[in-house]
């Protein structure tokens, strides 16, 4: 993206695609279950007609969003996500439709945390969360060794303190 600083080149783990798929499948199944229960109660207690229509509407929306976030998004997300860590900066680039690029000086990083939910554990992945004084940035799915290495790298570089903070 730029001439002087190297554009970020590291990709997420390949398993991030199925991991993201599983994650959003679970959340969509839960959502559909909730709409189902609502529908059942509305039938049982014979609520107004418009509540049925509301439920049809949100179900349709959930299905559309399922196609997007289970079928398409994981592939695109993996394809376009890049991160890079060097001794001065953390860089994160993501998105194709809404392209985003972030450049964070190492010295401004306050905390790094490694997290693993049930889905990520299934694939042996970790997510990293990097906090600065102003905001937080995530690298969603990295293999365990890579995650530990990146975390240690950031922790090492972030030790550098600037004068006048």
């Amino acid at each position: 993206m730029k001439d002087d600083i190297q554009a970020p080149t590291h990709c997420l783990a390949v398993e991030s695609v199925p991991a993201l798929r599983w994650g959003s499948t679970i959340s969509h199944v839960i959502m559909l279950a909730i709409w189902g229960i609502l529908y059942a109660t509305s039938l049982y207690f014979s609520w107004w007609q418009w509540t049925h229509w509301m439920i049809y509407g949100v179900t349709a929306l959930t299905l559309v969003s399922a196609i997007w976030s289970i079928g398409l998004r994981p592939v695109y997300f993996h394809k376009h996500f890049r991160y890079g860590v060097n001794d001065e900066f953390l860089q994160i680039k993501s998105g194709a439709f809404y392209e985003s690029y972030e450049l964070v000086p190492m010295a401004k990083i306050q905390a790094v945390s490694m997290n693993q939910g049930p889905v990520l554990r299934r694939f042996g992945l970790y997510s990293l969360e990097i906090e600065t004084m102003g905001s937080s940035h995530g690298i969603p799915a990295l293999p365990k060794e890579v995650a530990i290495e990146v975390r240690n790298q950031i922790a090492r570089y972030a030790k550098i303190r600037e004068v006048d903070e």
């Binding site: 439709f97 392209e99 000086p105 600065t132």
Partner: protein
């Protein structure tokens, strides 16, 4: 061994005063209904008495348990009635110092002082609600001395001799400034509105109009008397406005020495603010529509520490400075900063991109309008007029927004100006920016544009964005930021 002190005994009184202030409404209601026998009045009385008793006991106990000590490095604070807490706040974390002397403080020759740190959370400051002026001076000078001596590496850019630190007064408003200020703030209009509403209230109560109808009718027939009354009212309103402005912004003083900037204001309620020049995170210049017409501007210093409530916000250099004077003042106070007069405009294609961008708000309003087609102003096509007017207004605001947008990335500074009616210019230094971002929607990608963003330390954290910059410029901006290490000194 440092000396451990108790807070000033009068702090009990001031705590009680603060309590009274917050319970004023309840107290008033209770006192008014003192004779009443209803259960609610009784409950109110009991509640008030209990809370008064509790507050007095709590503040006395608090005074017995709270202690503080100062050495040349930090504040050490002890507090807690049942659960004891010890806090140490190092001077190098202090971002700014605020002093507030209310009328009550003045009666007792006291003041209050707050040292703000940049940390988040409840305990982000060290506050003394009531202390003698000499003690406040002592504490403030300790912090100040620390900044000068204890931090030999504070300055990375300008090498200078930190021997003579003479205090220079840069600005005090003249009578002309105050009068001009009172006109921009429209405060005198408020008086008129207040007067009118008061009259209608009185009218409802006593039917004044009926009472004096004959009199008013006779008055209304005489043009001279009406003119006289109007002039009188205006003179009164303006006088009150000027007095109000004088009370609020009178005694304004902006001063600085080698290391710090001092701003003080107020006649009855005095506030004083001081910040280390190195601690200024950014400068913001705001011009409301009225101020733009009169060529005035408000300059605010952005600090990583809290800046107090909106009402007595103190980080502002005199809010009614002539623009040129304001720019000159920034240069005087912060030699490290400079306002660039020749900023760059966005290219034409940015305007096009901004105009094409979907008008979501308009859509959301228009869809139900076309659906229900309500009559507006008794016109059957009223809904269409409303919709079109809204669209025109939105387009106009986008054009205005484009017109007011300009930027400059020069040397170590970045300057962003934006706004529709009100214009805000944000100026900061490369080494004070925490992080930057470049974002592009699909539309911006087609047009070769990008939205740049930068984050600065402040409370709350400042996110500044400039949409629709050409992509080459955005790349240049990232490169510019990546070169920040040149100005940053590492510990």
């Amino acid at each position: 061994m440092m000396k451990v002190r108790r807070y000033h005994p009068l702090s009990i009184l001031f705590e009680f005063a603060a309590f009274l202030k917050s319970y004023a409404i309840l107290a008033f209601v209770v006192v008014v209904n003192f004779g009443s026998d209803s259960w609610i009045a009784r409950l109110g009385r009991i509640l008030l008495l209990v809370s008064v008793a509790l507050t007095i006991i709590a503040s006395i106990l608090k005074w017995f348990t709270r202690k503080y000590a100062v050495d040349e490095l930090a504040f050490h604070l002890k507090s807690g009635i049942f659960e004891k807490t010890e806090r140490t706040v190092y001077f190098d974390k202090i971002q700014n110092v605020q002093r507030h002397t209310s009328f009550l403080h003045k009666l007792f020759g006291m003041t209050s002082i707050t040292f703000e740190t940049g940390t988040s959370g409840m305990n982000s400051n060290v506050k003394f609600d009531a202390l003698t002026r000499s003690e406040a001076d002592r504490l403030e000078s300790l912090v100040k001395e620390f900044m000068q001596l204890g931090n030999p590496t504070t300055d990375s850019e300008t090498e200078k001799v930190a021997v003579t630190s003479e205090r220079v007064v840069h600005f005090t408003p003249t009578r002309k400034d105050t009068i001009k200020a009172s006109f921009t703030s429209f405060s005198f209009l408020i008086i008129l509105v207040l007067g009118a509403s008061l009259f209608s209230k009185v009218d409802q109560l006593f039917e004044v109009e009926d009472y004096v109808e004959g009199w008013i009718a006779s008055v209304l027939t005489s043009g001279w008397i009406i003119a006289g009354i109007v002039v009188g009212l205006i003179v009164l309103a303006v006088t009150i406005g000027v007095i109000w402005t004088f009370v609020k912004y009178g005694n304004y003083e902006i001063a600085s020495d080698e290391e710090r900037i001092y701003i003080s204001k107020g006649v009855l309620d005095e506030t004083a603010f001081s910040i280390g020049k190195k601690r200024v995170q950014a400068v913001e210049i705001t011009q409301s529509f009225m101020k733009r017409i009169l060529g005035l501007a408000e300059v605010k210093l952005i600090s990583a520490g809290n800046l107090g409530d909106d009402e007595d916000e103190v980080s502002s250099l005199y809010p009614f400075l002539p623009v040129k004077r304001a720019y000159a003042m920034i240069a005087e106070l912060l030699p490290d900063y400079q306002v660039v007069p020749d900023t760059e405009r966005l290219p034409r294609k940015s305007l096009l991109a901004r105009l094409i961008k979907p008008y979501w708000f308009w859509l959301i309003v228009t869809i139900p309008l076309t659906f229900f087609r309500p009559e507006v102003f008794k016109l059957p096509i009223g809904w269409a007029i409303v919709s079109i007017t809204l669209l025109v207004l939105l387009i106009l605001s986008r054009v205005l927004g484009y017109w007011n947008t300009s930027y400059a990335v020069k040397g170590r500074f970045i300057q962003l100006s934006q706004g529709t009616f009100e214009k805000t210019t944000f100026l900061t230094r490369r080494d004070k920016i925490i992080e930057v971002s470049v974002k592009r929607t699909k539309l911006q990608q087609w047009f070769g544009l990008a939205t740049i963003g930068l984050i600065n330390r402040a409370k709350p954290v400042r996110h500044e964005t400039l949409p629709d910059m050409p992509i080459e410029e955005a790349r240049q901006f990232v490169k510019w930021y990546a070169e920040r290490t040149k100005n940053v000194q590492l510990k």
